[in-house]
């Protein structure tokens, strides 16, 4: 439910709110239906910031629903062609220099993706908020003509989630303003923040956002959408290992 998830954000927001009103499960089903089949194409800039260096990359991404995604680096030249494919909870990476596709073992899913502050899990987790957490509406306030909801998500005891709790701040138009991950001592460890909200491709969403490591000052990764198209026609074979390897997509 991170930056690719944002493209389908309406859904999780609807879900979170629904739990509080008691119509939860109807809305969950509805929300999932909303993203079913929704496609997107986007051009993204990514900036990885560290206290002593910074790296700028460009990438293109295709998504279909919340299950499928294909991301390919276009810049810098050193990384161009590196790609990640996601199919539900399975992920593959392709490195043209090695000409090899690697299926990511689950054990690596919590590792950093492409050296950024996003983990593979951040890319891959889809509906976990729906069934692995207990959601509570903490606060409702008005800001800039919107209603802003603060929602606390506490994972179930047996949920495969390491966080103590997560706090989401959402606007009534389902724009995610921030998503904070707390450890089990309730120390915030990382936060996804919306820096700019705008309209692109006919929808309003966070067009620039930043994942900040709160326990490591100066560590953050910023992602901004330069170009987004929704409901694009995608080839059937786009989200396959074959396309991943052949460099196809665009």
């Amino acid at each position: 439910m991170q930056f690719l998830g944002v493209l389908a954000l309406a859904c999780s927001a609807a879900v979170s709110l629904a739990q509080d009103t008691g119509e939860a499960y109807d809305l969950v089903a509805g929300a999932i239906d909303l993203t079913r089949g929704a496609t997107s194409f986007s051009e993204i800039s990514m900036q990885i910031h560290r206290p002593d260096w910074e790296r700028n990359s460009s990438l293109v991404a295709w998504t279909r629903g919340r299950e499928d995604a294909l991301i390919r680096f276009t810049k810098p030249a050193k990384d161009a062609g590196n790609a990640t494919l996601k199919d539900a909870d399975k992920m593959w990476t392709f490195t043209p220099r090695l000409n090899r596709v690697i299926r990511l073992p689950y054990s690596l899913m919590s590792q950093s993706w492409a050296g950024s502050d996003f983990s593979y899990n951040d890319l891959s987790r889809t509906d976990t908020l729906l069934h692995d957490y207990h959601l509570t509406l903490l606060e409702t306030e008005q800001a800039d003509g919107h209603t802003v909801y603060t929602i606390e998500a506490v994972p179930h005891d047996d949920a495969p989630v390491v966080w103590g709790r997560e706090v989401l701040v959402l606007r009534d138009d389902y724009v995610l303003l921030s998503h904070t991950f707390h450890d089990q001592d309730d120390l915030p460890l990382k936060r996804l923040e919306a820096l700019e909200i705008g309209e692109k491709g006919g929808r309003v969403f966070a067009t620039r956002m930043r994942m900040v490591k709160l326990d490591e000052p100066g560590h953050w990764t910023e992602v901004s959408y330069d170009e987004v198209q929704f409901d694009v026609e995608l080839e059937d074979g786009l989200f396959t290992v074959y396309t991943l390897r052949s460099g196809g997509g665009g």
């Binding site: 689950y106 054990s107 005891d157 047996d158 949920a159 495969p160 390491v162 450890d183 460890l189």
Partner: protein, 406 residues
Amino acid sequence: MRTSVPVKVLAQLSCRNLWRHRRRNAMLLGAIVIAVAFVLLANSLLRGWQAQMLDTVVANLTGHVKVLAPGYRDDPSIQRSFLLPADYQPELPGVDGWASRVRVPGVILSERDTRGVQLVGVDPAQELEISFLADVAVEGDFLESPTDRRVLIGAALADQLETAVGRRIVLMTQGSDGRNREAGYRVAGTYRASSSSLEKVFVFTGREVLQDLLGSPAVTELSIKLVENGQRSVARDILQRQFAAQEASTWDELEPMAASMFRFVDTAMLIWFSIMMAALAFGLVNTLVTAVMERTRELGMLRAIGMQPGVVLIQVVMECLMIVSLGVLLGIGCGVLAVRSLSEGIDLSQWTAGIESYYMGSLLIPVLLPYDILRVLGLSLLFGLLASVFPAWRAVRVEPLDAMRR
């Protein structure tokens, strides 16, 4: 010649010859005593190591004998498992304890770190009978039953993960259908084992809990601890008949590295013994040759008045054996006393970090086997005998006429 000189006289002669150079022979005796005592001490320390190695290997979830599904050793997964009846009891003689487990590779995650580990589903009561879990210090709770839905992790692992008793962690592994399985668990307790490598490897939870996660009622291993290590092959053969479709193995087949180290200790003892004895033999030969050379005139005289060469030979050998056997007996006495004084064990904790990989704990307790004492005794006497051959041969070669003319 058919000895005209009785043994008693020969012995008397030898004694007197030794007594003539009291100081020189006392020093030689001292050298023998020290060498033998050290050999015995080194021997018992190596034996202590060997015993510890065996205990460690058996306790580190290996047992003396183990039943595994075919192929599990190459690909340890829940697919390589077998069903064990709920009321199973091993039917073989000399069983000290047994445990059935589910053991699969997996991953443990906390908020801050991810580690590859061995997930072990256990019946805690069984483990207390046979594995290292019986000796660990636990902070928090020990697991209570095969259905205890919590985990017991090593203290070193808890440090790495920056987690603690009562926190939640996530376990991830491959289920029986080959798909990823993951779930959150609470940490019941952390254990401190003799080595931090154990603590970092094994994550325990209830057996039925892990079976639940994996989606299989099967176990991956049946581990049996025997009363006698020597009975392991017999036990393996019986188990192999009872579990015809599985593979029964002894600990030395499962842990070839430990087994070869175990065997190496036997060799090391012989090597150490040979080095000490070779050094000693030079001193012995040197002293005896000197003694013979000094007595050239005397030996010539004895030959001239009719002593047979064979008797001369016996006399020199006897002289040598007397001093060697006295030295060996005193040496063994000193060695036994030294081992006794170390019966509390030698604390190696300063070096433990390095020696864990050699299956050692931090306390080395020497073990003295009667067999080893007899072996040292026998081999030392043999060495003494061999060392006397050259001086005796020199003594026999003395020509009476030449000798008299000196």
